[in-house]
């Protein structure tokens, strides 16, 4: 016998046996869990059953059903519904599903073709980035955050850098600000292009996928030329940007603007009068302005519902208020309005990029504060002070005074905010992010409840969730 304490010592042996069997049977009846590799291989029919795809038994214990994942536990729907449980079916969509834009899992309760309830289940991409950030110093931090919302890496880096700069109390040179605006707006374009591509693909306009990527590649080419990477750039850093713009950047950006504008015109030709596209988007996935407020939705989704809220106008950063642009608004708050708002935003962003091109100031691309930016290599040979600064920066990192800061930027999906608490030293004590996709995913039940199964994909795509942003 083992020396572990037997908790069931004073219960008769047969009773224990009986109880455990009945619990086990109950569980098995409720949900045939099959964790691969832990048991012997079952025939396909049982082996592939992820549970919850069968009709609900009528006499099942609700608490057990929720625990086992065959009942959708969602407080959005009123409880006084008179649906017949016998006709309901639970379908799990994801986490491995091409239309969930990553690894989102939707648990849907269906009645025929109608969605009665939806529950988004997140966490399949939880990477522990906010915790990892506590072990990285401020120079390394941007490498971490750029991988959160991987479709808008520049916005993540910008929010991070602005927060640290707020704690440090430093200003960056005008050229750094202009480069930041240029890159973030181009990033908005590339993100919206990818959105157009996947939205089209998800509702059956497969050629949109190819078209959207065609234009997005031109943006990525410019990013690669400037930062060295197509994604996850680590380009916008505390105190400025990592490198100056490459030679001939004006020509590159000018040709990019031409290509993307032409591409966007083509999308509109393809989609605007396409009866299938209109049928599948108009009046689908509606969110009212009140719900936008309640769920904390920001970005194009909020603006498609007519909520005039754009951080670039309301709380300008990096001097973005000196450029002229409009904030496109929708009227109905449906999928089609989101499409129109995003397409209009691509054009507005290109307008900003054009203005940045014309008014790009000369000067430094990062701050000359030696407590933040290392001195040039040549100065180290000449100046003892420069050597000390260099040594301190690369051994200890940037010293940030204690304090709490929050800074948000308008990302392609809405307000990307970084909350940082510093207790002094070269690493943040705590960091938390406000993710726009999280709010959007939270609102999926509102958009999908009482719609048809086919509209689920359209609504989901229009929310443009990035799961890296949701789960972090």
């Amino acid at each position: 016998m083992s020396d572990t304490t037997d908790l069931t010592a004073d219960v008769p042996a047969e009773e224990v046996e009986e109880a455990s069997v009945s619990v086990a049977e109950e569980r098995r009846a409720a949900h045939d869990v099959w964790v691969s590799g832990t048991e012997e291989r079952m025939p396909f029919a049982t082996g592939t059953d992820e549970g919850a795809q069968e009709m609900l038994p009528s006499d099942i214990d609700p608490a057990l059903a929720i625990q086992e994942g065959i009942e959708v536990d969602d407080d959005y729907v009123d409880e006084d519904d008179d649906h017949d449980f016998g006709d309901r079916q639970i379908i799990n969509m994801g986490p491995q599903h091409p239309s969930t834009h990553g690894v989102l899992r939707l648990q849907m309760e269906l009645e025929g073709e109608t969605v009665v309830r939806v529950k988004p289940i997140i966490g399949y991409l939880h990477t522990g980035m906010e915790k990892t950030a506590e072990t990285l110093n401020y120079a390394q931090g941007a490498t971490n955050v750029t991988r959160m919302d991987y479709l808008s890496p520049f916005h993540n880096e910008l929010a991070y850098s602005l927060t640290v700069e707020q704690l440090l109390g430093i200003d960056v040179p005008p050229r750094a600000n202009a480069i930041r605006v240029l890159m973030t707006e181009l990033n908005r374009v590339s993100s919206h292009l990818l959105w157009a591509a996947t939205q089209g693909m998800d509702i059956g306009a497969l050629s949109m996928m190819i078209y959207g990527w065609r234009e997005r590649e031109t943006c990525l080419d410019f990013f690669e030329k400037t930062t060295g990477l197509r994604m996850n750039h680590n380009y916008i850093r505390v105190g400025g940007v990592a490198a100056d713009l490459p030679d001939g950047w004006r020509d590159d950006v000018a040709s990019l603007i031409t290509t993307v504008s032409r591409g966007v015109d083509e999308y509109e030709q393809l989609l605007n009068e396409n009866p299938i596209f209109l049928d599948r988007t108009m009046g689908v996935g509606v969110i009212t302005p009140k719900e936008v407020e309640q769920f904390g939705i920001t970005g194009p989704m909020a603006r498609a519902s007519g909520v005039n809220w754009d951080l670039r106008k309301e709380m300008p950063y990096c001097g973005i208020d000196q450029y002229e642009f409009d904030v496109p608004l929708g009227k109905y708050g449906d999928v089609h309005d989101r499409y129109e708002v995003r397409i209009a935003e691509i054009r507005e962003s290109l307008k900003i990029v054009e203005q940045v091109m014309d008014s790009m100031p000369s000067g430094d691309y990062r701050t000359e504060d030696r407590k933040v930016t290392p001195p040039p290599r040549k100065r180290i040979d000449e100046s003892m002070e420069a050597l000390i600064h260099h040594f301190k920066l690369f051994t200890e990192g940037i010293a940030v005074p204690p304090g709490t800061a929050y800074q948000a930027v308008e990302g392609p999906r809405g307000e990307i905010g970084c909350m940082m608490i510093s207790k002094g030293g070269s690493r943040p004590w705590r960091m938390h992010w406000r993710a726009p996709s999280f709010a959007a995913v939270q609102a999926l039940p509102v958009m999908m409840t009482d719609s048809l199964v086919a509209d689920v994909v359209a609504s989901l795509a229009s929310a443009d969730p990035v799961l890296g942003d949701v789960d972090r």
Binding site: E50, P98, Y124, T132, G468
Partner: protein, 161 residues
């Protein structure tokens, strides 16, 4: 036994070449996009890079129809069982390509949340470095895998012909 060579003869080697050629020329990937790498994987299949040149443009949503699982992105502890299940559902012969630093080793995220390399969950045939690997890197990995299959014997992952 005397008189019987242990070397495979003309017929076997020719059949083997033929089968391997057929396997590499239409290797359908399962769409298993997880994070940043999935975007580059989509980019590889899209206009500029055109994975269709290698007969691989058909990303199948159903693992039953797929031959190659491209694990594109970081695998969290919560995702690992799903990954394994999708792998088990794929029909033989099947291959796994681990795309990017996170899938291969956990990458820069050495913490509580991530599986430190997808080879802890499924057997991996090819690793592609990068964070994320560009389309050219991914294609290089895929073509290297093709070469590996062409040079190998006809067998499935359990070693049975």
């Amino acid at each position: 036994m005397a008189g019987i060579s242990s070397e495979p003869g003309f017929l076997l080697t020719t059949v083997e070449k033929g089968v391997n050629w057929a396997r590499t020329r239409s290797m359908w990937p399962a769409s298993f996009g997880l994070a940043c790498c999935a975007i580059e994987m989509m980019g590889t299949g899209a206009a500029h890079n055109d994975l269709a040149r290698f007969g691989m443009e058909v990303f199948r949503a159903s693992p039953r129809q797929a031959d190659l699982m491209i694990v594109a992105g970081r695998v969290s502890q919560k995702m690992a069982p799903v990954l394994r299940q999708v792998y088990d559902q794929m029909a033989e012969p099947k291959w796994v390509l681990s795309m990017g630093a996170c899938a291969s080793t956990g990458g820069m995220f050495n913490n509580y949340a991530l599986v430190q390399g997808v080879d802890e969950v499924v057997p991996v045939d090819m690793y592609v470095p990068g964070c994320p690997p560009g389309p050219q890197s991914l294609m290089h990995g895929i073509l290297s895998l093709h070469q590996l299959i062409m040079d190998g014997e006809i067998r499935n992952s359990t070693g049975v012909l």
